[in-house]
Amino acid sequence: MKTLVLGLGNPILSDDGVGIRVAQELRSNLEYEGTAVMEASVAGLDLLDLLTSYDKAIIIDAIQTREGRPGQVYRLKVEDFMATQHASLLHDVNFATALELGRRLGIPLPKEIVVFAVEVEDVTTFNERCTPKVAQIVPVVVDMVMRELNVE
C-alpha cells in the first residue's frame, strides 16, 4: 500500500507550521517502504496534485476551534469538517470541495484520508517556531502518526 504523510502549513507563521515540523521529524525517523513524507504550503485544488495515486494519506495540520486548548490533537476524517480557517485558500476551493471534485473527475485519490489536527494558539505572528505548548506536542503527534502507520 502506498501511503503519503503530508505536513501542511505555513512555516513562517508560528503554529501554522506545526504540520511542517511534524513532517520534518517523521522524515528523519521514518524509513518505511511505501511511505512518502512531504511538506507543503498548499490548499484547495493544489492538494489534489499531491494526493494523487496514494492509497492512504495522513495529513497533519493546525486547527483552531472555539473550545479547544492549544496542544490538543484530533484524529479527523475528511467528513468531519467542510472548512477550517486555513484549509481553504482565499482564492480557491476548500479541502472537502477539492476532494469531492477530484473524486467526481475520477482522479485516483486515497481511499482513506486521516487528518491529525493540532489545536494551536498563534497563526498570525511571523515566526519560524511554534509556541511552547504546540512545540512540545510535536513528538506526541509524531508517535501518533507512527502508530497509524503500524510502525514501532
Binding site: 507543503a40 485544488l45 493544489d46 482565499l90 482564492h91 471534485l101 467526481r104
Partner: protein, 421 residues
Amino acid sequence: MASCKATDAVYHVDPPPAAKKLRELFYCAHMVHSHIAHFYALAAPDFVLGPTSDPAERNILGVVAKVGLEIGSEVIKHRAYAQDIQNVIGGKATHPVFALPGGVSKPITEEERKDFEEKAKSEVEFAKFSLKLFNDVVLANKDYLALITGDIYIMKSYYMGLVDSNNRINFYDGDVRVVDEDGKEIVRFKPAEYLDYIAEHTEPWSYLKFPFLKKIGWKGFIEGRESGIYRVSPLARLNAADGIATPLAQAEYEKMYQTLGGKPVHATLAFHWARLIELLYAAERLLELSQDKEITSPEVRTIPTATPDEGVGIVEAPRGTLIHHYQTDSKGIVQKTNLIVATCHNYPAMNMSIKKVAQAVIQKGQEVSEGLLNMVEMAFRAYDPCFGCATHTLPGQMPLEVIIYDSQGGVVRRLSQSLPG
C-alpha cells in the same frame, strides 16, 4: 516577483537576459494557474448555474456537473501544468525559492525547456477553449450579456496597468500607465516614482487604506474623472494598454471592445472576460518564452556589488498592479517596507461597486433573498479580491453581511454569512 524586482533595485543590479526571461516565464505560468482557478472555481458558477441559483450547486462541482467531467479534468490538468513549470523553475510553486537580487538561483536544462514548450502549447489550446466556453455560455445568453453591460455593474474610473515601450500589456515589467474614463493617458511613471503619483486615504471604519491619484486628489467615494479613484485588474490592464503583444489574445482583445461598444470598458463583470483574454496572452507568452533558446543559458545571475539602500519593484499580479518598496540598511536588512497590493488599489472602487448593486437590487416590498447576497457578491467577486493580502492578515472564510435599514434608520433585516461568532 515584485519582491524580487524590489531587491534588484535595492542592490542596484540588473539581471542578465536569461534570468529576466526565466522570471517572466515563471510568472506567466503563475498567471495561467491563477486565472484558471479564479474563472472556473469562483466566477463561472455565477454564469453557468445562474446568479440566483441554489448555492449548494453554485460552485465548481455544479459547473463540472453542467459542462461535463471532461472539462473538469482539463481544468485540473492545465492548472497542474502551470504549477509544474513553476516548480521546476522556482523550486516550489507556492513560496518559490529561486529569485535572487540580480537574477535567479539556477538555469534550466534543454529537456526542461522542451517540456515547458509542450505544456505551453496545451495551455494555449485550453485558453482558447475557455474563451469559447465563455462565448457560448455567457455572451450568447442575452440575459447574461445584459447583466454584464447593465448599469448596476458599471463604474467609470481611471485605469492602471503596466505597459511595455509599445504600450502593450506586460505582467513582469514596464512603466505604470494610467488612463482616464475616455482611455486617454494621464500619467505614466517608473516604479521608483510611484509615491509622486499615488497617495492613500484612510477611513476610521477600515484597516485597509484607499489609494487615489495625487494628480486628481481624494474627492470621496464618487465616480468619474473628477475623482482620484482608479482601478487595477485584468480589465484595467487592457483599458490602460493599446494592445496585446501576442496575436490570438490581440484578436480576442479587439473582439471584446467591439462587442462592448469601444474602449475603455467600464463594466465590472467584464473583468471575467478580460481575465480569460489574459489567460490566452499568458499562455502565448509562455510558449514564446519556452521556444526562446536563451532561457537555457547558464548565465542567470549578476552578482550585486553596490551597497543596498532602497528600491521599488512593480509587477502585475493576477488581480492588478502590485507594488513592493523596501528601505534597507547597508547590510541589506529591511528597515521599512511599503506594499500596495491590487485589492488595496481597488478598495475604494469595490466599496462603491457593492453599494451600487445593493441599492439597485433592494427594492421596497421585494423579498430580500440569498440571491440578493450573491448579486452583491458578484460585484465584489469580479475584483478577485484578497483582503488577507491587502490588510496583511489572514481572515480565512469570506464574511459578508448585508443590513437593510428603513428610512428612519431602523434595521429591517440582516443577512450574513461566515461572520465571526
